[in-house]
Symmetry: C2
Subunit: 340 residues, 2 copies
DNA sequence: GCAAGGTCCGAAAACGTTTGCGTGTTGAAA
DNA sequence: TTTCAACACGCAAACGTTTTCGGACCTTGC
């Protein structure tokens, strides 16, 4: 076992000073050609690589960006990470991922931990609990210390920073309009309770689409699901008592549960009921019938977020502060769960 | 914008030396009670947190573990990460995730990068390209420098380190035996080419199960898929020309493709053909029919890997070197795609 | 009144870098 | 021979910690 090589060891070995070694390796003109060659050869031979920690300390930069997400076992978030990772790597940044598990305390903990030197900035999506508490002091504090933060997906007005979101309302409208265009007359929605911001927005989109097309709004066709555990049963009972021919679900899960329930009730998709989901994940692609769905383009969101963050990080300190909100367009992916 | 507080600033502000501040905050008996209180109060008021980078440099430890995986948009890997994260956090470690995208070069790059001070050890699953190349010098080098490495899932004998794997062979046998027990007479397998070690092992399990139950081995019922892009078509054609009543697929993807193809051919699952998959992901749970599958318990694998790594990290330096291989048991999850 | 011992604190080194500046050596010009 | 660039290199500080060691001052006991 041979421990890591340092400048000091090279210096001792070659009988020069540490600074000479450092300069030689950076090809400084201060150092004689001969010495440079000798040092470079030695470094290469023993595979010298500078210590990142020491560099970080010296430069007060880590070239690392932190991602904090509510959960990782979740298709959408992984695509976002993938997007972040791609552009981060292009620009020579590293990515460190932490999970809040939707807990406020863990979000604060992770943020504090990473903020103390480990990362130069953050990309994060708020924990559910945080949004309920409406307590964002940990974020404002970090921002006050001069660390750039980019919020995505689950964002909130109170925090002043760059944001990347999708046009939830427009996306939902696209979905419902597609149902209308393909001949559905009575369209229901499977959504979440209102404090989940995306659920609320998508519900708004649903309502807007109905209004703009002169469809009556029937509260009876709206199911707001709170308890994810029992969503299957709840959906089944809801569908049994509604005579609808079009259904918009605000996520994949609800969509497939609905299709399953409908099938058990002897109703075919899309012949009897058309179904549109939200989020284009593994399920949508592989389900039978495959799901018509609103794609959120997570990869693109991640890439945008990373770009925003890195821009801030590499901005000259005298440039004026300004926060952008990037809206990533959704698109409707037509598949087999709706009529064509 | 108020920049981060350091010991030096506290010292200047309170007109004591840096070392006094440091000691006071660690509650050292060397410092007078009065001074201690004063310093602690000040630190608390302004929310002092020591700089992790400086600590890492001093202690030559980062309390960070690096995970390198082939891809993140993949249910199994996310469960593993989740497992690692859980125990890492319990023990006060951070997790940094990098992706190799199944590329050898990116695996080497990431490993090199993280090895230079960013992490204390690694948990990784080899990239496909790495396994083809059979080039593991980057790993042995890192190990030689004294950094512990734990390999999981895609492991390889040539590298000497701790490993966490599942009993692929036994898992596959369980799957096939279940098919046999539920009355299947002619059982096929959808697998990968042999250099993907898990594919090879699962194929072995399939063969063993057949042999032990005196089923004839028919090479004609084995489909080795190389090109993931066209797997759907390939599977369809394979099934069209085989008259089997049981099918074992080495991953979810293949299983659902098969079910789709069978259905198009007018064959019902599980009435005409029973199907068992491998990996218990979103798809298996939500597909209709839901999939009987071999669960790999990714979370448990991640947790085991993290425990192994942290044990090595916190081991006294004089303890003897020894490498363990932990085998995480698989279990068969019975659902609707097989007869009961 | 003086040495011994306690109490409380500060100086400095160390972790591995980078970099501005000082210094010694060389060679050539005067 | 003297002088002065140019060149090649080393010193030291800095980043933010921790920790060992020693020093100043006060108290105590004789």
């Amino acid at each position: 076992m041979r421990p890591k090589l340092t400048l000091k060891q090279i210096a001792r070995e070659l009988d020069v000073s540490i600074s000479t070694v450092s300069k030689a390796l950076k090809d400084s003109p201060e150092i004689g050609e001969e010495t440079k060659q000798k040092i470079k050869a030695f470094a290469k031979l023993y595979n010298y690589k500078p210590n990142n920690i020491a560099l970080s300390l010296k430069n007060r930069k880590t070239r690392t960006i932190g991602i904090i997400i509510p959960e990782i076992v979740h298709y959408f978030f992984t695509t976002v990470i993938s997007g972040v990772e791609q552009v981060a790597n292009e620009k020579g940044y590293n990515v460190i991922v932490c999970l809040s598990n939707n807990s406020f305390d863990r979000e604060v903990l992770n943020l504090d931990l990473l903020a103390n030197g480990s990362t130069d900035g953050f990309i994060l999506s708020l924990a559910k609990e945080t949004m309920q508490k409406e307590d964002y002091h940990h974020l404002t504090e970090v921002i006050n210390q001069g660390m750039p933060v980019v919020l995505f997906d689950r964002v909130v007005e109170e925090v002043h920073c760059d944001k990347v979101i999708i046009d939830d309302i427009i996306g939902a409208k696209k979905a419902v309009e597609h149902l209308i265009e393909t001949g559905c007359k009575k369209i229901g929605i499977l959504t979440t309770v209102d404090y989940v911001s995306v659920g609320k927005l998508r519900t708004s989109g649903y309502i807007e689409a109905l209004e703009e097309n002169d469809y009556p709004l029937d509260e009876n066709l709206i199911l707001k699901i709170e308890d994810m555990e029992n969503s299957e049963k709840e959906i089944g009972e809801f569908l049994k008592t509604r005579d609808l021919d079009g259904l918009f679900a605000v996520n994949e899960q609800f969509a497939v549960s609905a299709i399953g329930a409908l099938r058990r009730q002897g109703r075919n998709v899309p012949e009897d009921v058309s179904v549109v989901g939200f989020t284009d994940g593994e399920l949508s692609k592989n389900f039978i019938p495959s799901l018509t769905t609103v794609s959120q383009h997570g990869t693109r969101m991640g890439a945008e977020a990373a770009r925003l963050l890195i821009d801030k990080l590499e901005r000259k300190p005298d440039e004026v502060e300004s926060y952008k909100t990037v809206i990533v367009e959704t698109s409707l992916v037509r598949r087999e769960s709706t009529k064509s």
